[in-house]
């Protein structure tokens, strides 16, 4: 190829200039003369019966077009388990749950009316942890669960608070524990929290007189929305048009279905006029779903050399009030329940448990950040019990090609090299991971390491597509169903086209907005699968276009197709390069000097569908749900003042095997961004609750996330063990680096204080308290 900006070069993202100059139109920026505005009223209680909703006063207020309460729609909506009314019906199940929505001519009028709605509640005792929800005397949060429809791969247990249980049974764990040299047991907890994407969620719905339903949404999954709108409301698939403009960050929180269903129902109430429903920041934090919480018990059995013989695990994921993606999060964690270690004997129950807390959806890492925290804390406990170096223990047990995963699928040669990742992380941290360095003033310097792995958890028929059209100057336009959520995939895909067809990347234009009526089908921009799947579809589209270009050129140049090459914006005969044509002469059809034209325009199309995937056996978990595995290792070095518990993460390192780096700067950005997110998650995030289940930090004044000043020095290293069925050998890297941070930080802090730090967030106060407990 002849361009300087193909695979392996760092480019400015296609959308960056518009973004940084404020010229991007996000969903919430849209306004049309016909538009009406919605406001939501939310519950101050975590668990309450709705006795009465008095809308009389609100109805009479200025500009009010409609008021929507639970009684206005009798069915439930739900991504995988149909458990959620569009607004609370009869009962409120979490703090911040929407109990009414108002549509008015202005947002201000809608808000004033929402304020004037009087709701009478009978407040009841909430359930505030998964283990409490599973206790014998716990009430059943969804009594009707037996009647809810759900997808086949999840297994709800009606009459209990278990929305899904995924079982993993491999080998003979009982025997392994009996014959083990050492066994350890650990318990960890993570509170639910939020993604805190910069852009709050928005959906604008309009029902045209022709029956077409237009939805503009801040969604990572426009095709999922389209499918579910058909499923819930019986709208013809072809009449649902979902548009996803640029999204201001999603992190999983905008996958699935969010505000679209309610926006549609509100539009229906006002004769189909466009209704704009935008979350306030507070509604986005606690009304819409956030990230999942966890309680987990992990036991490991090992021999005297530190080889893991078996693991016994119970993951109690905290779904909150509704199942949303959480059921599948618990399933995904089961699939990789051991972390990136080879374990021959396993018992694992991964449960998704209802509580009266804000509900959970997908979050970067999709169950793996939580699972990893539990496993990596347990691994360090095991290293302590064995008096073994924590890095050495991990290297000894790191999973390799031909090993079987917990679901007994066999890792192939395309699997990354975790052993090398561990070694690189050890080297970046200067080795001696288990050491505690004493400094002055009761300050210590400690290190922690973790391994990580993740495969996408997605339907077995997950697909992607690409369409390549051309302009008269020989440039091309790439249309895929991947949503630009800040990850930079569109730029990466343009680089793939540039590399494959030899067209400079400036002349590879990408369609930014996804429109389900014109974009090729694409499951969702989630699960770190965008670059790999859409990348493969894009390569196929390039091949298709190249073929057509050669066909035209072979007629014009009177040479066989096989003798032609496409590169440098030309199609030519490589051994006689003067014989050739500029792409601009062929891509819209060739025109002879006398005016005759042939062939017509080149339209390349390509597609991809996941291959050989199967669901899990409900009793043993056996199956092949994992398309490709990305493996890596992470570590931190922390300075801790034991007098105050205050600590500073000095250095955060990551070595990850991504198969092939398409764009180094974008790849590094994703890795560092994930690490920063993981640090915030571990050190300061998570909702706090009072005993009535009210969220006490549901505003950004109080819900703290990472700031620039909190950033450590980052070191990132990539390995390139090729993904043999990925584009140029690349595999997914979007989520992975978030996964290992909680374990790495907790392991370092545990070493500093001399006791397991197993409850996120790891605040300085907790560090101080634990340190005091140990000293006393």
């Amino acid at each position: 190829m002849n361009t300087k900006d193909g695979i392996g070069t760092s480019l400015t993202r296609k959308e960056s200039l518009d973004k940084v100059s404020g010229r991007v139109i996000y969903g919430g920026d849209n306004m049309t003369p016909q538009m009406l505005y919605a406001a939501q009223k939310t519950s101050p209680h975590a668990h309450a019966k709705i006795i009465k909703i008095d809308t009389e006063k609100a109805k009479g207020m200025k500009g009010i077009k409609a008021i929507f309460t639970g009684d206005d729609y009798k069915d439930n909506l739900g991504l995988y388990l149909c458990d959620k009314p569009p607004v609370a019906r009869n009962v409120v199940r979490h703090y911040g749950e929407v109990v009414a929505a108002v549509v008015a001519d202005t947002y201000a009028n809608a808000t004033a009316a929402a304020d004037a709605i009087a709701v009478e509640y009978e407040v009841m005792k909430p359930i505030l942890s998964p283990l409490e929800a599973l206790s014998d005397d716990a009430y059943t949060i969804h009594e009707e669960m037996g009647s809810y429809s759900h997808i086949k791969p999840i297994h709800p247990e009606p009459g209990t608070n278990v929305a899904n249980r995924t079982k993993i049974r491999k080998g003979n764990p009982t025997e392994a524990f009996k014959s083990a040299h050492v066994t350890i047991e650990t318990f960890v907890e993570i509170p639910p929290g939020d993604h805190v994407a910069m852009e709050p969620r928005v959906a604008i719905a309009e029902i045209k007189k022709t029956g077409y339903v237009h939805i503009l949404s801040s969604t990572q999954a426009p095709f999922v929305v389209k499918g579910l709108m058909h499923q819930f409301f019986g709208i013809d698939q072809g009449k649902i048009i979902v548009k996803a403009p640029l999204i201001g960050g999603g992190f999983g929180g905008k996958a699935g279905i969010q505000l679209e269903g309610l926006a549609y129902l509100l539009s229906q109430k006002v004769g189909g006029r466009p209704v704009k429903l935008v979350n306030t920041r507070e509604e986005d934090l606690t009304g819409s779903p956030g990230h999942i919480g966890l309680q987990a018990k992990i036991k490991i059995a090992a021999d005297a050399e530190g080889k893991i013989m078996g693991m016994d695990m119970d993951y109690y994921f905290n779904s909150g009030a509704y199942a949303d993606y959480a059921v599948n999060v618990s399933r995904a964690a089961a699939i990789s329940c051991t972390g990136p270690y080879y374990v021959p004997n396993i018992r694992c129950d991964s449960m998704c448990v209802y509580t009266n807390m804000p509900f959970a959806t997908a979050y970067r890492g999709f169950g793996h950040i939580e699972m990893s925290f539990a496993v990596e804390r347990a691994m360090d406990e095991l290293a302590n019990a064995l008096k073994m170096d924590p890095l050495e223990l991990r290297i000894k047990n790191g999973i390799k090609p031909h090993d079987t995963t917990p679901v007994q699928s066999v890792l192939n040669e395309s699997t990354g090299d975790i052993i090398k990742c561990f070694e690189e992380v050890g080297a970046m941290l200067g080795g001696d991971i288990g050491a505690t360095q004493q400094l002055e003033n009761n300050t210590v310097r400690v290190k922690g390491v973790t391994g990580l792995w993740k495969a996408p958890a997605m339907p077995t028929n997950t697909d992607a597509g690409a369409i390549l059209t051309f302009n008269s100057d020989g440039s091309c336009n790439l249309n895929t169903g991947v949503v630009e959520i800040g990850q930079g995939t569109k730029t990466g895909l343009a680089q793939i086209v540039s590399e494959r067809l030899g067209i400079p990347v400036d002349k590879v234009h990408v369609v930014m907005e996804v429109d389900t009526s014109v974009s090729p089908s694409d499951w969702a921009t989630a699960a770190s699968r965008g670059l790999m799947m859409a990348g493969m579809a894009t390569l196929e589209a390039c091949e298709d276009a190249e073929n057509q270009i050669k066909e035209i050129a072979s007629a014009v140049l009177r040479v066989p197709k096989r003798d032609l090459k496409v590169d440098g914006e030309r199609v030519f005969v490589p051994d006689e390069p003067k014989i050739g044509l500029n792409l601009s002469e062929v891509v819209l059809g060739y025109v002879y000097p006398n005016g005759n034209a042939i062939y017509g325009q080149v339209i390349g199309s390509g597609k991809y569908i996941a291959k050989h995937l199967t669901d899990l056996d409900p009793e043993t978990g056996e199956g092949h749900p994992d398309l490709e595995w990305t493996l890596g290792a992470e570590g931190v070095e922390i300075e801790v003042n034991l007098n105050t518990g205050k600590y500073k993460i000095l250095k955060a390192v990551c070595c990850i095997d991504v198969g092939k780096v398409i764009s180094p700067a974008l790849a590094r950005g994703q890795i560092v961004g994930g690490m920063a997110m993981g640090m915030g998650y571990t050190t300061m995030e998570g909702f706090t609750f009072n005993d009535r289940g009210q969220v006490t930090n549901g505003v950004l004044r109080d819900y703290k996330i990472m700031r620039y000043g909190d950033e450590p020095e980052y070191q990132v290293k990539f390995l390139e063990t090729p993904q043999q069925d990925g584009p140029y050998g690349a595999r997914g890297l979007g989520e992975q680096s978030v996964i290992g941070m909680p374990g790495a930080i907790a392991n370092a802090l545990s070493r500093a204080v001399g006791k397991g730090m197993n409850q996120i967030p790891l605040t300085p106060e907790k560090v101080w308290k634990t340190s005091m407990e140990v000293k006393r």
Binding site: A108, T111, N643, M684, N697
Partner: protein, 273 residues
């Protein structure tokens, strides 16, 4: 956005401002004085405060200036914290002010707003109290002057409808000011303890923000302080009853941090075990 309509007044003299508030109150209009807006706007948006009218004091020019006089630096109540931080004559208070909020917010956040706001921290008042500043304030009969220590108890206690006009910081207050701000985690947060200590020839000032539901301070005569054999225990003893527990930190942790910090400031002994 604030979803409610508010009446907005922008008087240009202190008399107009006072009259405006008085008239609105007589008409039963819930009105607020307004300057930087960082607290008012966010609270109105969330519904945490309600107001039908705001009186923007930024039209009064004397309230937006810093004047260097012989004895005092006179700081208008509307002066944003960043302007104070960058002022060469205000170096002694700078290390305290530049830890409040973040740089972007401090461009708008005013000294008067920080002291008179509803939030319980009011950190900016600590160095002003430490330096024994005076304030000028406005009521029906015009501009009055008081020692800040005489009118500040948990919050600034001005008569109804009165407002803070200027702060007069003595140029030669004497003493050495030291301070330390601690947060639950990230620095861009409210303090769980902001301790300001000023040791002069005659007195020792210790003031705390974030420790209680309001700023608290103690003045210790220098000769008494010098006699203390256990300054950590003695100082902490003056404040312990005020410590609070909340979402950010427990009472025990706050007291511990206070003792630890006083030990560092004074060189006194403190064994946390």
């Amino acid at each position: 956005m604030i979803a409610y309509n508010l009446d907005y007044f922008k008087p240009e003299t202190t008399e107009e401002a006072y009259e405006c508030m008085k008239t609105l109150k007589e008409d039963k209009v819930n009105a607020l004085y307004y300057s930087g807006g960082t607290e008012v706007i966010t609270n109105l948006r969330k519904g945490a405060s309600k107001a039908d009218a705001v009186i923007d004091l930024k039209g009064i020019v004397e309230m937006s200036e810093i004047l260097v006089e012989d004895e005092y630096i006179v700081v208008g109540a509307n002066v944003p914290l960043n302007v104070m931080i960058e002022h060469p004559e205000l170096e002694s208070v700078m290390p305290i002010l530049n830890k409040i909020a973040d740089h972007t917010v401090r461009n708008a956040l005013t000294i008067g707003g920080n002291i008179c706001g509803k939030l319980p921290f009011r950190e900016a008042v600590l160095p002003l109290l430490a330096l024994n500043s005076s304030i000028k304030w406005v009521d029906e009969s015009g501009i009055k002057e008081s020692l800040l220590r005489d009118v500040f108890d948990k919050r600034l206690k001005l008569p109804p409808n009165a407002f803070l006009y200027q702060i007069m910081i003595p140029r030669n207050a004497g003493g050495q000011m030291i301070s330390k701000r601690m947060e639950a985690h990230t620095e861009v947060d409210y303090p769980i303890l902001h301790v300001v200590m000023n040791i002069s020839d005659t007195e020792v000032f210790v003031g705390l923000s974030g420790f209680s539901s309001f700023p608290v301070y103690q003045l210790i005569p220098r000769n008494v302080y010098d006699e203390w054999s256990d300054p950590v225990g003695s100082i902490a003893g003056l404040f312990e009853k005020d410590a609070k527990s909340d979402e950010r930190a427990s009472k025990e942790y706050r007291v511990h941090l206070l003792k630890n910090q006083i030990a560092l400031f004074t060189g006194g002994a403190y064994d946390s075990l």
